[in-house]
């Protein structure tokens, strides 16, 4: 670690204070104290005095991009973003949900973040495995260099070794455990639809009770809705109370998208969302 968690927290407080004081932003999205040290929570600062309650430690895993779309369009917001979170904000800008001018990226270069539930270090297995934000206005620590870079798709090896039937059986078994709490959707920065398709009654896309068919409909459609958009923060999987490894499916789709369209989600504000953009040289593999 190039900068300690403590120094990042100090910088965060200082920058957030400045931004609120100067009126540059109305809101700072960051982390605050939870019921204990190991469980910090998303925190919204609206007054310079709020920043005293901000924290930053290895358990600040939440992707705060999730909260950006809650505010009316045009609200000036600063948001604390780690690498994957930053990509989520960029993806939202690509989707024109928010404007670049309305957000201040408080970039956090970091590694060694831990899952508060298990204490495990989260790395390329469940996230995109990047250390430095790809875009920022203010950097809250020194960039991380010299750490081993692992492809976020390496974790797919076992999954990809399965044949079609095995994969089907695998997911059927996983989805059968789903209790339809929708925590995955709630945690996801890209799941901003209101209403979500699955909550609609006309037409009724899928059964709402936690049963095989409806579960399948919900998850497969959600995966499809996130194709080319999921930035691999891993929040959905961490939010899941029954530990369904959703990230495997998301990573697999992301990998195929990247291979097909030469573009990973949320890497540049100049990109257009891959699946709703037509380029003459687009691969036809998707049709095969």
């Amino acid at each position: 670690m190039t900068s300690s968690f403590k120094s990042i927290e100090e910088n965060l407080k200082a920058e957030a204070g400045k931004l609120l004081e100067s009126g540059r932003v109305e809101i700072v999205l960051a982390y605050g104290r939870g019921y204990d040290e190991n469980h910090p929570m998303p925190f919204v600062a609206k007054h310079p005095s709020d920043v005293a309650n901000m924290v930053f430690n290895e358990y600040c895993i939440h992707n705060l991009a999730r909260y950006l779309v809650r505010y009316p369009r045009g609200t000036k917001i600063a948001v604390a973003v780690k690498a994957a979170d930053c990509r989520a904000v960029i993806q939202l800008i690509q989707e024109e949900k928010i404007k670049r001018d309305d957000v201040v990226f408080l970039g956090i270069p970091v590694y060694g973040m831990k899952n508060p539930k298990t204490g495990e270090i989260i790395d390329s297995k469940t996230t995109c495995g990047m250390y430095n934000p790809v875009l920022y206005d203010v950097l809250l620590g020194e960039e991380v260099h010299g750490q081993k870079i692992v492809s976020p798709y390496d974790v797919l090896a076992d999954y990809e070794a399965m044949d079609k039937e095995a994969r089907w059986a695998f997911w059927k078994k996983e989805f059968d455990r789903c209790i339809r709490c929708y925590a995955c959707r709630k945690a996801c920065p890209m799941c901003y639809c209101d209403p979500c398709f699955i909550d609609q009654s006309k037409p009724r896309w899928g059964d709402k009770s936690p049963q095989s068919h409806g579960n399948l409909m919900y998850h497969l459609t959600r995966f499809h809705h996130l194709a080319g958009r999921c930035i691999d923060c891993g929040e959905c999987s961490r939010a899941c109370p029954v530990d369904i490894p959703l990230y495997l499916f998301h990573k697999k789709v992301a990998k195929e998208c990247e291979e097909m369209f030469g573009q990973a989600a949320g890497m540049s504000i100049d990109d257009k969302p891959a699946l709703v953009n037509f380029r003459v040289d687009d691969s036809d593999k998707i049709l095969e």
Binding site: E96, K97, C193, P203, P273, L275
Partner: protein
């Protein structure tokens, strides 16, 4: 509760041979809400239509399902039956059991089963259909014609003569196309310029025609009746408004470029007109060969131009044109024969392609109409090789249709202009046009040597420098022969323009296997395309001669006229709309719509759809994550019901 009538068509034996039609009708009668189900030999015939009309009255039907051919064929026919019987025309459903069933199987079990499944789905959907009202829009009365070869010229003149305003867009700096490069035209051997240049001049003079040379289409928006097209005009570095066509500049210019018009056989100036009868008669500067652009010094043209028309700072400009209909007439390229190394084109100076030879014959061409070769000699023996690249699985599978005839024309002109022996190497002679067989017979009488066998290879003669040997199998005698000649003429395949797929994309057209623009129907709608209001004429559709090209041009003009002659037109009611309560503002719809119909309403924070632009393709509905989009006539409920019906099988 609806009251559905199902009408099963036999289409003679077209459908009846692979679908048990009466069984299908009996099956239909068992389905929910179906009040009457019948089968009949030809449902589209007058008695067939009357049967439907009577049943609507007698059984008080409020939904009609016709299981027959593709809706492209007869949807309009049956809609009219509904309308005449007082039913909303959108309460009709066509189930395509011909193209999608009987024509894709030989197995009557399979055919009948699939027809039942499709019909079951259709009944489920029909029960949910709602009456819709068509929209009426204003039509822009002008027409755009793209490409000013003989096809474009003819179409533009026809339309302009009816009083319509025409924009004629040409990529080149002159209009005329390939025909302007020729000396004589088969089969009558009349002088090409004599029949073409009067038409070119009429284009220039016509008050209803706006001629836009050095122009290409860069963007197309809108739809039939209301196209909004952006044209990019390349910088010509000469202000054509000021230029009085004295051409003093072209004399003084020291720059040297390769004459595209003369197929690269000679040089031209950097400021030039392509050929003496070019229209407009005003020069353009080619940046690549201009001394000033290359070295920063010269500007001789500027000095001699009394009109002060030279403008080295000119930029590409964009012109915005609105039109009700568009005719594409972008013609063809000749296949590049260099990759066919067995023929030695580009390697042996004695090997020519057909267009080069056209320029040799032309009195305004590089040799003033004399047949002299690159080395200055007059050939003593000439071989014309048919079907180079055409009718060839490895290159262009199609027959280019005109090569036999122009090869015969070449034979005649060679005989007229030289004392050479002329050989024709052909697979078989295709002379199926008015006066063509007669023309062939005439050339046979002119002491031309016909060898039935495709030229297989052209090689350098080992004995005589500059002599070539043509190798072929004479399929009449079965012998392998070698013929020594001085000059070899290749008659290459006519192929689509290099940019034809880009043009197709701009206008939402399909192309065939070769890349020629695809017509709506090969027999019954050869000039229309799948994009309404876009028509095609000439070789951009497929290889053909000038008479056929002109006939198509006239036809396309008439087709375009059927649109722009009306000041209003009815549009399909099947458009999409956004339910603002469900829209999550992802703007996917805005991004995917090929017609630019959806837009984001910043103040309401939701997307909306401009109904006038929407064609009802349904793309937006399929990418809307929160199903906020209602595609009328194909609503989610209707489509899901249909799928449910299908999946019961």
């Amino acid at each position: 509760m609806s009251r559905i009538g199902v009408f099963v068509c036999h289409c003679g034996l077209n459908i009846a041979k692979t679908v048990r039609v009466s069984e299908l009708a009996q099956f239909a009668a068992t389905l929910p809400d179906v009040v009457v189900a019948k089968d009949y030999k030809f449902m589209c015939s007058t008695p067939g239509q009357e049967m439907i009309a009577n049943d609507i009255k007698q059984h008080k039907l409020d939904r009609i399902i016709v299981t027959a051919c593709s809706p492209l064929m007869h949807e309009q026919t049956f809609r009219k039956v509904l309308a005449a019987s007082g039913l909303n025309q959108y309460l009709l459903t066509i189930v395509n059991i011909r193209e999608q069933v009987s024509w894709v199987t030989h197995d009557i079990e399979e055919g009948t089963a699939k027809a039942k499944a499709l019909l079951n789905g259709a009944v489920y959907r029909a029960r949910l259909l709602a009456p819709l009202t068509s929209r009426v829009i204003d039509v822009n009365p002008d027409v755009m014609v793209i490409g000013a070869g003989i096809a474009g010229i003819q179409a533009a003149l026809e339309l302009a003569n009816t009083g319509k305003k025409v924009y004629l867009v040409e990529k080149n700096s002159t209009i005329g196309g390939h025909m302007a490069q020729f000396d004589k035209t088969f089969p009558t051997l009349d002088c090409s310029a004599c029949i073409l240049t009067p038409k070119m001049d009429s284009i220039l003079q016509h008050k209803n025609i706006t001629m836009l040379t050095s122009c290409e289409v860069s963007e197309v928006k809108g739809f039939v009746g209301n196209f909004d097209i952006t044209i990019r005009q390349k910088a010509r570095y000469v202000d054509h408004g000021k230029c009085n066509a004295c051409l003093a500049c072209t004399e003084k210019c020291p720059g040297k470029g390769v004459s595209e018009w003369d197929e690269g056989l000679v040089k031209r100036k950097a400021i030039y007109i392509p050929f003496p009868q070019a229209v407009p008669q005003k020069p353009v500067i080619d940046r690549d060969s201009c001394t000033f652009f290359k070295k920063g010094k010269c500007r001789l043209c500027e000095k001699v131009c009394e009109q002060k028309a030279i403008d080295f700072d000119q930029q590409d400009t964009f012109i915005q044109v609105k039109a009700g209909a568009v005719i594409l007439a972008t013609g063809y390229d000749l296949m590049d024969t260099k990759p066919l190394i067995q023929y030695g084109y580009g390697k042996y100076p004695g090997v020519y392609n057909a267009l080069e030879v056209e320029r040799l014959f032309n009195s305004a061409g590089p040799t003033g109409g004399k047949v002299t070769m690159r080395d200055g000699r007059e050939p003593q023996a000439i071989a014309v090789l048919h079907c180079i690249g055409s009718r060839d699985k490895n290159n262009s599978e199609h027959c280019s249709r005109v090569c036999c005839m122009y090869s015969l024309k070449f034979a005649h002109l060679f005989k007229e202009k030289t004392s050479a022996d002329v050989y024709q190497f052909y697979i078989d002679m295709r002379a199926a046009g008015k006066g063509y067989e007669e023309f062939y017979n005439r050339i046979i009488g002119e002491d031309v040597k016909f060898i039935r066998g495709k030229g297989a290879r052209v090689a350098q003669s080992p004995d005589e420098e500059g002599r070539l040997i043509v190798e072929a199998e004479d399929t009449i005698t079965g012998k392998f022969i070698k013929v020594p000649v001085d000059m070899v003429v290749l008659s290459p395949a006519m192929v689509p323009r290099a940019d034809s797929r880009d043009i197709a994309r701009l206008f939402n057209l399909s192309t065939d296997k070769q890349g020629f623009f695809m017509e709506r129907h090969p027999k019954l709608a050869p000039l229309s395309t799948m994009s309404e209001g876009i028509f095609i004429a000439g070789v951009c559709q497929s290889p053909k001669d000038i008479p056929d090209t002109v006939a198509q041009a006239n036809g396309a003009a008439a087709e375009a006229l059927t649109i722009v002659v009306k000041d209003k037109m009815e549009l399909e009611a099947t458009t999409a709309m956004v339910n603002p309560a469900s829209c999550c503002a992802c703007q996917n719809c805005v991004r995917v719509c090929p017609y630019g119909a959806p837009f984001f309403n910043e103040s309401k924070g939701v997307s909306e759809i401009n109904e006038a632009l929407c064609k009802g393709c349904g793309l937006c509905a399929s990418v809307c994550p929160s199903s906020a989009i209602i595609a009328r006539h194909f609503t989610n409920d209707q489509v899901l019901a249909e799928m449910e019906g299908l999946m019961e099988f």
